[in-house]
């Protein structure tokens, strides 16, 4: 009987202990990730962006990405008419942590691309915060965010998948997959007087049904902490 009690107590203790340990870990991990990100005061990045939205047939854009702490971020196309996704602010990982008033909930472990990641959910305390909930997936070894899902009040849910290369030391990805909810685009019929070449009667491609929009951003080069002027953000 005693042994049974001891066993149960041990079990509780174990479980309790493990929870506390994990909770500490996740907090520490998030703090470490944050510290890493905060090493970067500003950057200017050059790269390309490919937009995958069913109704948009637009070329790959040459882009520049400007960042300045704490919350200035600008995605610019270098030439031509451009379609810049509106949720680009979330590319700034700082904004996840910009507000100290959040609760971190441990989401346990998951596997992304055969890589074990830690999941943390950030819940802002401030009711007025635009962010409702953010889930981040952290590569614990490199202390970088490989994926984040942010639900906002106004602009739906954004998802970021990040792939790191030589700038991993600054927590800056080489490739970002930025997913968002693209609203369906529908022009009223007859407004455009279009040429009906008969092709619309053929079977539709399944992509057309996909309402998910995605921007693939490839960064070739970062210029980090060179003291960016604020006029780049206008």
């Amino acid at each position: 009987m005693k042994s049974t009690f001891t066993k149960i107590a041990c079990l509780f203790l174990l479980v309790g202990n493990s929870i506390t340990t994990t909770a500490q870990d996740i907090n520490v991990l998030v703090q470490n990730v944050k510290k890493k990100i905060e090493k970067v005061n500003d950057y200017e990045a050059e790269g390309t962006m490919k937009t995958n939205v069913a109704f948009l047939k637009i070329p790959i854009a040459k882009i520049k990405l400007y960042f300045k702490r704490p919350n200035l971020l600008k995605l610019k196309s270098e030439q031509g008419v451009s379609f810049m996704p509106k949720g680009a602010m979330s590319l700034n990982l700082n904004h996840l942590f910009a507000n100290q008033q959040y609760v971190i909930i441990d989401g346990g472990n998951e596997k992304i691309n055969n890589q074990l990641v830690r999941v943390a959910k950030l819940l802002p305390n401030d009711d007025n915060s635009e962010m409702v909930l953010s889930t981040i997936y952290i590569d614990p070894a490199n202390e970088v965010i490989v994926k984040s899902k942010t639900t906002t009040k106004e602009n739906g849910t954004y998802e970021l998948n990040m792939y790191y290369g030589k700038y991993i030391g600054f927590g800056l990805p080489d490739k970002i997959l930025f997913s968002f909810n693209a609203k369906d685009y529908k022009l009223p019929k007859g407004i455009t007087f279009d040429f009906d070449d008969g092709s619309s009667q053929k079977a539709k491609t399944p992509i057309a049904k996909n309402k998910k929009g995605q921007a693939e951003i490839y960064i070739k080069r970062y210029l980090i902490n060179k003291g960016l002027s604020e006029k780049n953000f206008q």
Partner: protein
């Protein structure tokens, strides 16, 4: 033949009516340009719809000379047939009305030649009209609004699309589009001449041609499935807008437009063949009817 054509062009050039068309085109284009210079944004908003919820778009860049020309052509090419009909519809009937047809047909020139010369003259008029249009709608727009990538808003069946053509890939499309428009408008010219053969005054064939074009265009654009399938392919007006095909850029599997490509060249080629077929048939009927016609005017 050449001297006859010269005479025909001379007659067209000496008539005040001819210049109505040029003035009308210039006025419409300038009004368009003024309107878009003043408030092009609201048109852009209409076309972009809720895309702006997801994307940041530099609308002032999007309203550039290339885009303007497309918008102007889109509207103008509905009206230009009227202007072509104004000249071509008058070709035979105007002379009948004036009484000069009598004199003309007692000259040692075959009636076939007269019809063909009048047709060629109307064709040349159409070309000159299009060049005039290109100068104002394209060149002036390019000058006033600048040059940038071009956005095409398209309704394709049940889908809507936005296509982007980079600025270095646009000009040849306009040249092709204007050439196509020349063929399309020549159908109107041939039809107006055909009508003209049967009339003794010029109002009749002009109005008849315009009515047919308007009626067919309305039916072409009804968007009723049963008509789209069974009637639309047989209306030549469905092919008048084929010039737009040159702006429907092809995209790769990833949705990236391929520079220098056209999505559906066979459709454009077929449309061209159908239009040219219309020209040949209508001109043929006009020649046959005119040769048989007793001139009683």
């Amino acid at each position: 033949m050449w001297s006859l054509l010269q005479i025909e062009l001379y007659k067209i050039s000496r008539r005040p009516r001819t210049y109505i068309a040029f003035a009308a085109i210039m006025a419409i284009v300038l009004i368009f340009q003024f309107a878009f210079k003043a408030d092009g944004q609201s048109y852009m908003n209409l076309m972009l719809q809720n895309v702006q919820d997801n994307f940041e778009i530099d609308r002032s860049k999007a309203i550039n000379g290339y885009f303007m020309c497309y918008i102007i052509l889109n509207t103008l090419l509905v009206q230009v047939p009227i202007l072509v009909a104004l000249i071509a519809g008058d070709a035979i009937s105007g002379e009948a009305n004036m009484g000069t047809l009598r004199l003309l047909l007692t000259k040692p020139v075959s009636r076939t030649k007269i019809i063909l010369v009048k047709f060629i003259a109307s064709f040349i008029f159409t070309i000159v009209l299009l060049i005039w249009m290109a100068i104002f709608a394209l060149l002036v727009s390019m000058f006033v609004f600048g040059i940038d990538d071009m956005l095409i808003f398209r309704v394709k069946g049940d889908e809507s699309q936005i296509m982007q053509i980079t600025k270095d890939d646009v000009l040849w499309r306009y040249i092709a589009a204007f050439a196509y428009a020349a063929v399309a408008l020549t159908v109107i010219a041939a039809m107006a001449i055909l009508m003209s053969v049967f009339a003794e005054n010029s109002i009749g064939p002009i109005v008849a041609t315009v009515c047919i074009v308007i009626f067919f265009t309305i039916v072409s654009n009804l968007n009723v499935p049963i008509i789209d399938k069974n009637v639309k392919p047989y209306l030549f007006t469905s092919y008048l807008v084929g010039w737009k095909g040159f702006f429907y850029i092809n995209a790769n599997a990833d949705g990236q437009p391929i520079k220098g490509s056209i999505e559906n060249w066979p459709a454009i080629r077929n449309s061209l063949c159908i239009l040219i077929g219309h020209i040949i048939i209508m001109l043929g009927i006009a020649v046959a009817a005119f040769n048989k016609k007793d001139i009683l005017s």
